[in-house]
């Protein structure tokens, strides 16, 4: 057999098969079967009738949405002022915002925990707030970077053209800069929202005992309920797929030239 470039993909194909496709198949099989191995839709029905799982889904969604919103509100002005600043060493300034990513995540959260304890007295008073703060702190760089990149490579003549045609500074931002930066915002949201939906380590470390999707799956598996846990994983996967498809579509739109 002659060696061709295709064969270079073999290790990855094997990896994909063993660690992605196979587990996925197992999850699907488990999700739609009962403990005796008979196919059933009961797990599916249970998920959408159990107030406990639905409540957790809702809590996770709200937490992720608020975290994303907080990140966006902090990141956009930062990215904007960085991208349009006249400072020569912009990359150094950007680095300052990215730097926390280099520090071990456990260390970072432990430090945050101490700080919050100092401010609030007891972390248990504000579990939701603490989770939002912790996750925003953790994910902020993932929001700044894509928005910064998008704004930075934006042709300045678009803004000049808008101003030339009579737009004031604020109108230029509203009608040109903001719409043209949407692709960056969308990928920023995807980078923050998806991990925020599933990440439960932050909650864990900040003593928030409320379950979110990630911890819920963990609890099912810990109780040997493989079938119920698999169904929750599958629903979560479906939600993520849906969101990725949506954000992927809107990312292409500015190139197509239609109004967003």
């Amino acid at each position: 057999m002659r060696f061709s470039r295709k064969h270079l993909a073999l290790p990855y194909a094997l990896f994909l098969l063993l660690l992605v496709v196979l587990p996925l198949v197992v999850i699907v099989v488990y999700a739609f079967s009962d403990s005796s191995g008979q196919p059933t839709a009961e797990n599916f029905i249970r998920f959408f009738t159990d107030p406990n799982t639905l409540g957790t889904l809702f809590y996770s969604l709200v937490l992720a949405l608020i975290t994303t919103l907080v990140c966006l509100l902090i990141a956009y002005p930062v990215a904007y002022s960085l991208a349009f600043s006249r400072i020569k060493r912009r990359s150094v300034l950007l680095l300052l915002f990215i730097l926390p990513m280099w520090i071990n995540f456990t260390l970072r959260l432990t430090a945050l925990k101490e700080l919050l304890t100092l401010l609030e007295g007891n972390l248990a008073y504000h579990p939701f707030l603490n989770s939002v703060i912790g996750m925003s702190y953790d994910f902020l760089p993932f929001m700044i970077l894509p928005i910064y990149n998008q704004l930075e490579r934006l042709d300045r003549s678009f803004m000049e053209a808008a101003s030339d045609l009579g737009a004031s500074g604020f109108q230029v931002f509203l009608k040109v800069t903001l719409p043209l930066s949407i692709p960056g915002v969308v990928s920023g949201i995807a980078m923050v929202f998806l991990p925020a939906m599933t990440n439960y380590v932050v909650l864990d470390m900040l003593y928030n005992s409320t379950y979110i999707m990630g911890s819920l799956i963990g609890s099912y598996f810990a109780a040997y309920d493989w079938h119920g846990g698999s169904m929750i994983s599958l629903v979560l996967l479906a939600l993520i797929c849906l969101f990725t498809l949506l954000s992927g579509n809107s990312e292409e739109k500015p190139e197509g030239g239609r109004r967003l």
């Binding site: 003549s157 000049e160 004031s168 030239g257």
Partner: protein, 479 residues
């Protein structure tokens, strides 16, 4: 109402970050309805000047007046001026209608009026019915037209165009040139156009502003600029031209290119001048019938004509002719007086090229010239014992790769009748009395005509030795 729609007074633009000056001493008055072109090589400051008129850049010093009113620091959105950008800058998130209506909607015009105006301006640029198309479906030429439409729909007092045709192919560019000119005549508004293409500038403009290194070189009609360039830069930049250093040898007589020619510009005898000869003005003839004789060294067929290069002594003349010549043939060259354009020279330094020997000494005409190569190559070191010159990064410099250009001003050259006293020898072919000294033209043994000022009287035809004092020389490395 002021006579001038826009006026720039002593405008200077210095960039804060590196202190470089992009535009200096810029004074210009533009009449209502004129088509003015800023012409110059890239980096000459033409776009910066345009950006200051648009309001994207602010002058460091000076004033910009619009219709007599100071608008120097008015933001772009408050100026009745619109710009067509180099790469169009059409908003990709809007369709054609929204792009063109952008300015009108900001003015809160009623919807019907906006629609009417957009339609009218799309008619003007020949793209009727394109309203709902998206920007990305348009060709470069169509995007160009939309960019013009988007600017014109606001009925600006001045339309600025920053190299708008640069991205189009040749045929398209020619078409757009004609259309832009027609639009200008139809609309009657002032156009300020930036280009580095001299042909484009000559075709379209009422007035051309030639710029170089941030300052205006000449302002005039296309005919003025072409026929009467003010200095060597303008002559060289506009059209093909041969430029020679010359000297006025009598009333309406000028010596250059190894010959004496009659001319029409009345310049004082003895003045040092730059002479411009357009390639199409040179008359080729039998060798003995021309004012100067030369050897054909290259002939290139250009479609409409031949481009012929003739070498005469140290001089080279490029000639455009409909008749072909053979390489190696001897020809005579002559000029009608009106084919010669004379400009007072700013700088008449003589330059010649010397070679570098194996021991890194500089040699010209068999004589060593004291020239410190380490000063010309920053950071280099010369090891005298090993005879090795190493550059800043420690690489050994190959002496054969170096050539040194030696420059010296005419007043610094001395003459001697001791044949071996000087660096080179020559024969006096012209002498002009200039009141307190004589000015000589000396044909060197290498065929160069040098100009030498001397207070003593020599005779025509005298053989002299030319002393070039080393301390008066300036050196430069040739790449």
């Amino acid at each position: 109402m002021s006579e001038y729609i826009i006026e720039l007074k002593d405008v200077l633009r210095r960039f804060e970050d590196d202190g470089s000056v992009a535009v200096r001493d810029f004074n210009l008055q533009v009449r209502r309805g004129e088509f003015v072109t800023f012409l110059g090589p890239s980096g000459c400051g033409k776009t910066t000047t345009l950006r200051m008129i648009a309001g994207f850049d602010l002058p460091t010093e000076g004033q910009i007046l619009l219709d007599g009113k100071d608008i120097t620091s008015l933001p772009p959105n408050k100026r009745p001026i619109n710009t067509v950008f180099q790469r169009y800058a059409l908003f990709p998130h809007m369709n054609i209608y929204e792009n063109i209506a952008f300015g009108l909607k900001l003015k809160k015009l009623p919807r019907e009026e906006v629609e009417k105006k957009v339609k009218r301006v799309l008619d003007l640029v020949d793209l009727e019915g394109f309203e709902s198309r998206s920007v990305s479906t348009l060709s470069g030429g169509q995007q160009q037209r939309i960019a013009i439409a988007r600017a014109l729909v606001n009925e600006p007092e001045i339309l600025l165009l920053d190299e708008p045709l640069g991205a189009l192919d040749l045929k398209m560019r020619k078409e757009m040139q004609i259309e832009l000119k027609a639009m200008h005549q139809q609309l009657g508004i002032t156009f300020i156009y930036v280009t580095h293409d001299q042909e484009e500038a000559l075709t379209m403009s009422d007035k051309i502003v030639v710029m170089n290194r941030g300052s205006i070189q000449q302002v005039g009609t296309p005919e003025d600029i072409y026929n009467e360039p003010k200095n060597a830069f303008v002559a060289d930049f506009i059209g093909e031209s041969n430029i020679f250093k010359g000297i006025m040898t009598g009333k309406l007589k000028c010596r250059f290119c190894g010959g004496e020619f009659e001319c029409m510009d009345d310049v004082d005898e003895g003045s040092l001048v730059d002479v411009v000869v357009r390639p199409e003005d040179v008359i080729l003839s039998e060798p003995e019938k021309g004012t100067v004789e030369g050897l054909v060294t290259a002939v290139t067929f250009k479609g409409m004509h031949y481009e012929i290069t003739v070498e005469s002594g140290k001089y080279e003349m490029v000639i455009v002719s409909t008749k072909a010549q053979k390489v190696g043939d001897k020809v005579g060259m002559s000029l009608e007086p009106d084919g010669i354009h004379i400009m007072l020279a700013e700088d008449h330094t003589t330059s010649f090229t010397a070679s570098v020997m194996k021991d890194y000494s500089v040699m010209y005409n068999g004589q060593v010239i004291a020239c410190d190569l380490t000063k010309l190559l920053p950071g280099s070191r010369l090891d005298a014992d090993a005879q090795e010159l190493r550059d800043a990064s420690g690489e050994l410099v190959d002496p054969e790769s170096l050539k040194v250009q030696i420059s010296i001003a005419p007043g610094d050259i001395e003459m001697s009748d001791d044949a071996d006293a000087g660096l080179t020898r020559g024969r006096i072919i012209n002498l002009i009395y200039k009141g307190d000294h004589y000015c000589y033209v000396i044909r060197t043994e290498h065929g160069h005509d040098l100009i030498v000022d001397d207070e003593y009287l020599w005779n025509m035809g005298d053989q002299v030795s030319l002393i070039l004092p080393e301390e008066k020389m300036s050196f430069a490395l040739l790449k």
